[in-house]
Structure formats: structure tokens, C-alpha cells
Assembly symmetry: none
Homo-oligomer: 180 residues x 4
């Protein structure tokens, strides 16, 4: 239910109760327990449902210039991460994932992997176009670009700005570009 997303947007994960979700949804507790094994699973499904609009555009933009395209994606990502409506439910989900390996696997399968594949596909096209080193490991490459940003978001180790995203992107691409 999307009632879970509402509440996840209002409360930190630890304050989020199945009881409250059920009440908000106008639903008996048992109905929730019938369909999900844990609060974490509810949150995962809630976030999945909520972000299902994204599922269609599993295609990153491709103008022919990788850095331009990725910059657009990173800026959008940064904007989302700075938007409380996205930030709060996502933090709840992240908490669940950090605690629970089982859930992390399901999250990886259902939400992260498709996104990862889309990013990797864009990098692969760039590699074929000679923009990137043909030897580069593209899984690592995706994580070089997005990992530092996600890490800064999670730990709030610094301000999450377009400028930061640009710096990360520039450095990562510099390391990934064709040598020699």
C-alpha cells in the first residue's frame, strides 16, 4: 500500500509501526501480516510501488557525450536525494537493507539491478564509442560514479550538491577514459 509510503515520509524507520500503517490504510493488522513477512518487506514494496513510474525509462539519455548524459542523471539523483519526500522513505528502506541481508538481496534484485544495468548499458555504449578504456570493468565503473554520492547521502559526510556530483563524475571519467 502507498499508505506505507506516506508514513515512511513522516517518520524515521524505527518509529514506523505496522500498527500505524494498518490504521492509516484502514486495514486490519492481519492483512499486512498475510502479505508481508516483516516491516522491512512492507517498506520495500511501498518504495517499489511508489517508484514504479521510473521502471519504464530504464534507458539513460544518450546524446553521444557520456559526461553530459551522466551529469544530467547525477543532478537528477542529487535533487531527489535532497527532496524530503524521497529522502525519508528511502532512508527507511536503507536502514532495513543495512540491517537485513535477506532484504538487501531482494532490493538488489528488484530495484537496484535494473538501474545498475541501465547505467552499465550507457557506459557500454560509450566504451564501444571509444569514450572509455575498453579494458574497464563497467560494474566497478558504475560504482565509482554513484558510490561516493550514495555514501555521502547516507552518512551525510558533506553537502550533496551538483558541484560535488560533477567533481566525482569528472574524476571517475578521467580514470576510466582510454589511456594512451
Amino acid at each position: 500500500m502507498s499508505a506505507a509510503v506516506e508514513l515512511a515520509g513522516e517518520l524515521p524507520y524505527s518509529r514506523l509501526s505496522i500498527e500505524a500503517i494498518a490504521a492509516r490504510a484502514g486495514v486490519g493488522k492481519q492483512t499486512i501480516y498475510r502479505w508481508w513477512p516483516s516491516k522491512a518487506a512492507v517498506v520495500l514494496d511501498a518504495v517499489l510501488t511508489w517508484s514504479q513510474g521510473d521502471d519504464g525509462d530504464l534507458q539513460l539519455p544518450d546524446t553521444g557525450d557520456l559526461e553530459t548524459d551522466l551529469r544530467a542523471v547525477l543532478h537528477a539523483t542529487v535533487d531527489e536525494l535532497n527532496d524530503p519526500h524521497y529522502d525519508r522513505p528511502m532512508r527507511s528502506l536503507t536502514v532495513a537493507i543495512v540491517e537485513d541481508a535477506q532484504l538487501a538481496a531482494e532490493y538488489g534484485e528488484r530495484l537496484e539491478r535494473p538501474l545498475h544495468q541501465a547505467k552499465k548499458a550507457r557506459l557500454h555504449r560509450a566504451q564501444l564509442a571509444g569514450e572509455l578504456d575498453p579494458e574497464a570493468d563497467l560494474d566497478v565503473a558504475v560504482e565509482m560514479i554513484f558510490g561516493p554520492i550514495m555514501n555521502r547521502w547516507m552518512t551525510r559526510s558533506g553537502p550533496l550538491t551538483h558541484a560535488y556530483a560533477d567533481a566525482v563524475l569528472a574524476t571517475a571519467l578521467a580514470g576510466l577514459r582510454r589511456r594512451g
Copy 2:
């Protein structure tokens, strides 16, 4: 109290109760509430106490070859992150940090920043030695190297191996090295 670390090593954060910590420490609950405002703060102090041995060696190795030195540090980091005795309390702390901006700030101040400074100092020496681009933003540089690894640890988005660390390091340094 280090009794908190013990329990944090046995249970996920959500199952970790102040009641249990107090009982294990042979202490009244009120004593804990007197000194810490929340479970999260207890966990932070517990981890700080526990890792205080590290506080002295705020000096990264310096053999003259940056990549060798960082590789050693990253391998050690990866090994720690793969050790359940370190992983479990650290995940508890991470959960607390993801949920609570206040705590994240305190964590940044007391544990992360000194480590960050040490890493940055090593990079700075490499920059002076001409191993890195003199224009490079070293804060970003540190996060380029450690961010992807921490992110993979947290989200378990892939195996956390020495090889992965090496790949991240190589790519990051390639992007940071002197151009032209």
C-alpha cells in the same frame, strides 16, 4: 560501556535493547539514560571506545608509493568489514547514523573526520610529490577511493574483496594522477 559492543556484536540494531545492555553491564537502566540520550548515542560511544586503539595511528603508511600504501589500507579495511566482530556493531552504528542526522554529525566529528584527515594528509603528501594532479580536490579524492567500498559494504551490492578494492583504487588514482 564495552558491554554494549558485545551485544551490538550479537544482535541487529533493532533487537538491541537498552534494557539488555543495562542488564549485561550490571547497571540500572537509569544510569544509561543519565549519560546517553538514546540507544544510538550509546552505540556510538561504544564503538568509539572500542576502536579507540586506532586513535593513535592517525598516520597512514608512507612508503613513497601512494598506490601501495592505499592498497594496504584498503585491504585492511575490507578485512575488517568482512569480520563479523567488526561488521555487526558497525552496521548498528550505521543504521543509527542513516536515521539520525544529529548522530551523523557527532559521528562525523568524532570518528570519521580524524580518519578522513589522515587519508587526506597522505594524499596531500602524494600531491606534493607529484603523484597526483595538483588541482585535485583531496576531499573528493578520499571519497572516490573509500566511498564505493563503503557503499558496497552497506548495501551488499556485491562481494567485498581485495580485488574489488584494487579495481576501485586503480580507477580512482588513474583519474587523480597528473594530467598531460
Copy 3:
């Protein structure tokens, strides 16, 4: 629950905890709070349940001789008050009543009044038979007979014996008998 009576028979009221009653009854604390507003109310209901056997015999003996009948009742009352199994829960209930006017009202309604009415009815029959002054206020009369005994029990201002009860009864009846 009659588990409350057990505990009320073992501990003074101030040491009697809802936690302990719940544990002894094999019941969650919330279940008690759901049904009773306070420890006092639990004790009242416990005593009511426990003494419900008495509810049927709301008829005092009537041999035709009032003093004989009342003596029997008073002796039984004194014996009960001297029996720890009765004394201890009853003291708990009394403490609750002395402290809490609300509870006193409910106690009066549900336990004391029926007993009072039964006593008054016996006195009324005696009054019709000419054993008592037709002008006597029978509510006062009941309290003249039982009040001093209950007061001695509560305050332990002296030994609570059959002889004492007899002396009270004799004096009270002397004051209540037909004048002239």
C-alpha cells in the same frame, strides 16, 4: 482474576504490583490495564470474586432472638478478621478505599451495601417483633454494632475477641431496645 487475591494475601497493598499480578496470572500487563483502571480496582474485583460465595446467604440467621443471632454473626466476622487469609487481602482493599473516594463508592455499592441491607433487615424484623425501639434509626443501629469492631480491626487499637464483640453488641442493643 483470583490470582490477585493470592498475592494480596501474601503482600501488603503497597508491595502489590500489577506486574506481579499479571505474571502470576500468566497474563500480559496490558490485559489488566484494559479491564481495570487501577490496582485498587483490581483488588476490589478480586475480593468481590473471592467472596462471591457469600452473595447467596444475604439472609442473617433468625432464631427469634436478636442478640443470639447477631452474636453468631459477630463471632463469625471476628474469626474472619483474625484469619490472615481474609485479613490481608481485606486490608489491601481497605487501604485502597481509604485513599480513593471513587473506589469507596464502588465498594459501598457492590459489597458493603448488600451486607448492610441484610443486617438492617434482621434488625427490622426485631423491631417489628418489639425487640427494638420502634423509633430507632436502623442504619445507625447497624453501624453501632459493626462500626466499633471494624474500627478496632483496622487500627488494631485492641484485641479483636469474641468477648469484645459481645460487649459491643450488648451495649448497642441496650441502647436500641424499647424504652419504657
Copy 4:
């Protein structure tokens, strides 16, 4: 300390805490524990201190007419019992007495007995004057007169009025007067 009386006048016994008494008196808790073994003992001493003004007039009025004199005493007693400033601390003390036989003994010794003796002395003079049966047990007589009133006060089994006191007194004296 008379600070205890203040608080006993504001709160029911169960809410009265040694901590609060100490704080109100500007005194360390330990100082209280040094001098009194329990909260009950503090309350007893507080009430004793507070009512020590009465200690002098251990003489009941003696106009020559017993009923008139006792009526005056009973009316004063009833008025006190209906005055919250007296009622509340006294209820606290009563609760302590009902629960604790030890304290009841001390209370009997230090507060109740002198009053009882004064009442008994007045009855004794009446007995000598031929107003009462020379055979009457005066201890019982005192309790016949005061017991019903104290009992009605404690249990709130009915309104505590001058009229009630008069009725009790009249009945008791009727039973105690010279027979034949």
C-alpha cells in the same frame, strides 16, 4: 519536619514520596533515612508534630452533663474530619496504620492512647456521678461512641454530619446509662 505535613495535605499517601519530602524540606534524602525507618514513620511524626498543640488540652470539657460535653467533642471531631487540611494527612496516616502493625502500635502509644485516656477519664467522672452504669467497661464505651464515626469517615459509608454523631452518641449513652 512539617514539610511532610504540607505534602501529605496535597497528595494521597501512595503519591507521597520521600524524595519529594526531602526536596521540599531542602534536605538530603539520607538525612531522612537516618532518622526514620520508613515513609510511614515520617508521616506519623509529621502528624504528631502538627497536632502537638492538642497535646496540652488532654482534658475533655466537663459541664456536669456528659451528653452535652461529648456532643461538643464529637462535633469538633466531625468538623475536623470534614476539613481537607486535616482529612488528607490523616488519611495518609491511616493508610500507613492499616498496612503496618508496627506503626499502628506506635501510633496507638503516642497519639491515640492519650486521647483515649482523656475520653475515658471524662466517662469515668460521669460514671462516678451516676450518669453511667457502674458496671460499664469504659474502654468499650469510648469505642462505642467514637468507633462508628471513625469507621464512617474511613470508609465513607455515609455522610459524616453532626446529626449522625448525635444519633450515635444518643444510642451509645442509652446503652451505657444506669439500668433499672
